[in-house]
Symmetry: C2
Subunit: 199 residues, 2 copies
Amino acid sequence: MDYFSGHISTLIEQLSSLPGIGTKTAQRLAFHIISMPEDRVKKIADSMMTARSQVRYCRECCTLTDAELCPICGNRKRDHGTIMVVETPRDLSAYEKTGKYDGVYHVLHGAISPMLGIGPDDIRLKELMRRLSNEEIKEVIIATNSSLEGETTAMYISRLIKPTGIPVTRIASGVPVGGDLENIDEVTLLRALEGRTEL
Amino acid sequence: MDYFSGHISTLIEQLSSLPGIGTKTAQRLAFHIISMPEDRVKKIADSMMTARSQVRYCRECCTLTDAELCPICGNRKRDHGTIMVVETPRDLSAYEKTGKYDGVYHVLHGAISPMLGIGPDDIRLKELMRRLSNEEIKEVIIATNSSLEGETTAMYISRLIKPTGIPVTRIASGVPVGGDLENIDEVTLLRALEGRTEL
């Protein structure tokens, strides 16, 4: 790309190293950034650096946060006896958006995947087990993804927790609300059938 | 988004202010940035700041560049008597990728659009006319987009240049190479018919 000058090429290269940003998007972003007011660019750059250096894992639930405890673990109004186990902070935020869950979370930062060489020690499982032995826990809800990795992780965790006697549940899998049956894959359809409940 | 901590929310907000980056992409990017090595984050942030502060318009062709003259205008091997007029630096790069054009460029940074209130004075037209009066120019090739705005701009420029006696040409519009006739819109088909050449 020697028809772009050094600084532009460098910026395009750096941006396209981010996930989901191809060369064309990186070019578009780069030219946009160059035409932006300087203080707006500084704000974006600063927010990257600050987030990277200031954000850490919550002491309790391992989500990413500014302080030692995340706002959810620090909230005494939440039900600290119910832990929902999720794969990523984005999954946590998806459930928070519902506004209906008032328990706390545990973020694994991944899922067990023999294919990718990710074992139980590569995710935040030890931290979960430590919480279960220290605190008064009424229920652990496993909300890992409904993928092969997510299911494997769910099975693994439930077996790990069984001996403690704490009830372990798994979020339901089935036809999404508003979903058109004809557009839904067979595995989901079968899962919905297996999980049918009496009316 | 108060379930994300301050620094993460700020980063997500800043990233989603960029064009084509929605909240979901911004979240994905933010969590990726937080998990990256600190020096990689610094590199991206620095490249933004440097590009914004160091990049300027080429004295000759108005493309974005590091120095007073862009590498193309500064290259004595190029044919400085042929100027291709394009809307954006990205269009310039598209033609450079062909590797077959050895003239120079002029970047307008936009196109005339009465709809958007962009007039001839809002794009780099004066700079083009100044070049035409100073230099020995053999031909001006108008390579603005084949859109309403691009065509309007092409017409406007050609009328402006006519009195100078410099030949003005327009890149051909028609069926793209490898294009299936049945999938091409009628306007393009008619344009291709009008522009037919003898075999």
